[in-house]
């Protein structure tokens, strides 16, 4: 009986601890994954210039093939290769810094376009998957996107703790767990930019015994990698662990956050989410203006082999059939 009284006392003491637990987001976990994952591909270094020079056992280059195809369709060279080769346009420059490349174009393409997985032949011109990925990476250099945080330019006043972890946590829940889209992170908080698509996360948290207004969070994120050979297919990934505290008000709302441990120096700088291809802004060199989305679609989409002679426009309804993977020539 004495034991029962002690048990009752313990239970009555412990009950309020259960009852005053925050409304949500106490000890727990969350995870999310975008399927299929964004594809891996080369980041097309400006210094190496593969897009215009080609590479070992791969000639002509992707843009030389593009120009040749468009010439068969329109009768004139669109000049995509010439523009890309011009060092004044900064897309190819033997003196560029080692880290400069097309990682933003690859990231957006890997999220917005299905992976090219087979060789395409157009009017007798072969486009390997590497050519297609290179052209897509240039096409998506300029995209409409949602942008979060502030880019660190290395200027006085730039906040090295931005993007804040409460915003980062909301974004992975909103986009990844919500199965909406992979997001692109600049994975270094300094002035360099290393864009990678984040497509999967596993997060866990606890509030600790003494401070229930602070959630201590550990989040493992998975990035699609661009450190692959040009003809790589599929998704090579790498993972990173971020730790941070989220501050919770008396109603269980997250109101603030701070990076902790090594993540103070290794957290993402900014996050962006591409939503669609955009034309080159006037007077800028962000994207090759001589690359036409219409001809890129003709190359990337549709059957493995297609012969559309010069001057023959692809009629609208048949273009839609091609987008559906059907070859009008096979059916009519």
């Amino acid at each position: 009986m004495i034991n029962l009284k002690r048990l009752l006392a313990i239970a009555l003491f412990a009950l309020p601890l259960f009852a005053v637990a925050p409304v949500s987001a106490e000890d727990g976990s969350a995870r999310g994954e975008i399927k299929p994952a964004p594809w891996s591909g080369d980041w097309w270094s400006r210094k190496r210039g593969f897009l215009v020079l080609g590479w070992k056992n791969h000639q002509p280059s992707p843009f030389a093939r593009y120009d040749a195809y468009v010439q068969t369709r329109t009768g004139r060279n669109p000049g995509a290769h010439a523009w890309e080769s011009n060092v004044n346009n900064t897309h190819y420059n033997p003196r560029a810094e080692d880290w400069e490349g097309h990682c933003n174009g690859w990231s957006a393409a890997a999220i917005l376009a299905p992976e090219p997985r087979e060789r395409k032949v157009r009017n007798g011109i072969a486009f390997e998957t590497s050519d297609q990925k290179g052209i897509l990476s240039e096409l998506y250099m300029n995209t409409y996107c949602m942008f979060y945080g502030n880019r660190n330019w290395g200027n006085p006043g730039d906040d090295p703790q931005d993007i804040y972890p409460d915003e980062f946590h909301r974004l992975i829940l909103e986009y990844i767990q919500g199965n909406k889209s992979a997001i692109v992170c600049d994975t270094t908080p300094d002035r360099q930019v290393w864009n990678y698509p984040l497509y999967k996360f596993e997060s866990s948290w606890n509030s600790g015994w003494l401070d229930d207004k602070k959630l201590k969070v550990k989040t493992v994120v998975y990035y699609a990698d661009d450190g692959v050979s040009v003809d790589f297919l599929g998704t090579k990934w790498f993972s990173t662990t971020y730790t941070y505290n989220l501050f919770v008000d008396s109603n269980g709302n997250i109101t603030d956050g701070e990076w902790t441990g090594q993540s103070r120096d290794t957290h993402p700088d900014f996050v962006w989410v591409p939503t669609g291809d955009a034309p080159n802004p006037p007077n800028t060199v962000q994207e090759n203006p001589n690359l036409d989305p219409k001809f890129v679609r003709e190359i990337i989409q549709g059957p493995s082999s297609l012969d559309v002679r010069a001057g023959e426009p692809i009629p609208g309804p048949e273009a839609v059939m091609m987008e559906a993977g059907l070859n009008p020539a096979d059916l009519f």
Binding site: A113, Y144, G276
Partner: protein
């Protein structure tokens, strides 16, 4: 006695378990078919009288166009993307939660951009009752119901979309003081502070947004001239208390939407009904127009 302990402990656990599970289970079912949430209890709010402020009034079938430019914050310098024109079409009125609502379909004029929104806004004060967003993925288009609490008053701000459907809390007012000489004078505007609650996957993220309604600053006077409306004008400033990010909207009675909205990364203007197109010349790169061009 032991049975009693069991009930006490079980009750304590039942209180706790939903709180723990919420964050893990919520979030599923957010993408895909947008279902109407169950009807919450009706909460009576006093109807504002007409003289209490300005609320835009629309008719079914009414349409207007917003032209939005977006700053590329990834790029060095002051780079603005080619504008997108968004069509707003009042498709119908429907009752949501026993409240008469406009149903507004928002879509880009250029069909290649696969982003759209369907807004259910109360007729009385344009309070968002339901918001559906459509967005592209690599493998097709998806839709998602944006969580909104129709009975919590806060500005509608599209944090995760390019679609410029941001709205302040209506009605807009400009406080007028009666002076001793009988003339009215505008009082210094007092900001209204709203909790902006964003519920995501069982978490609740809170920011505060300050809304200030005032007479437009003199620098904005020219903005109204293209519209020839002649009604009362309002300048609305929406400021995020955490980041300091601010957007400024200019409204005028008789206009269906803000005639101008500006923030650090977005400029939106209402296209005057008969005004000539003001878009920059598109780059000539091929036969077909590209996204964002007309």
């Amino acid at each position: 006695m032991i049975r009693f302990f069991g009930k006490v402990l079980a009750a304590g656990l039942l209180v706790t378990i939903p709180a723990v599970c919420t964050a893990q289970s919520a979030g599923s079912g957010q993408v895909g078919q947008a279902a109407i949430p169950p009807e919450p209890p009706v909460i009576e709010t006093p109807a504002p009288r007409a003289e209490e402020g300005f609320v835009p009034k629309w008719k079914v079938g009414e349409q207007w166009t917003l032209e939005a430019s977006y700053r590329d914050l990834r790029a060095p310098g002051d780079v603005w993307m080619t504008p997108i024109k968004w069509n707003f079409h009042v498709k119908a009125t429907k009752s949501i939660h026993r409240t008469d609502c406009y149903v507004v379909h928002v879509y880009p004029k250029k069909s290649g951009l696969k982003m759209q929104a369907i807004l259910y806004l109360s007729v009385r004060e344009l309070r968002p009752m339901r918001v559906i967003e459509i967005f592209p993925t690599a493998y097709g288009v998806k839709s998602r119901e944006k969580p909104v609490d129709p009975f919590h008053s806060e500005p509608l701000i599209g944090d995760d979309t390019l679609i410029p459907y941001d709205l302040p809390v209506f009605p807009l007012t400009r406080t007028i003081l009666q002076r001793a000489d009988g003339f009215g004078a505008y009082a210094a505007p007092e900001p209204k502070v709203y909790d902006k609650i964003r519920k995501v996957a069982g978490f609740s993220f809170k920011r505060q947004v300050r809304q200030t309604d005032k007479k437009p600053d003199r620098q904005h006077a020219d903005a109204f001239t293209s519209y020839r409306l002649g009604g009362d004008t309002f300048q609305v400033e929406l400021t995020d208390s955490r980041t300091g990010a601010m957007q400024t909207q200019l409204w005028q009675e008789g206009s269906p939407w803000a005639i101008s909205t500006e923030s650090r990364d977005r400029r939106v203007r209402l296209v005057p009904p008969a005004a000539p197109e003001m878009l920059p010349a598109p780059p000539v790169t091929g036969d077909d127009p590209k996204e964002g061009e007309e």
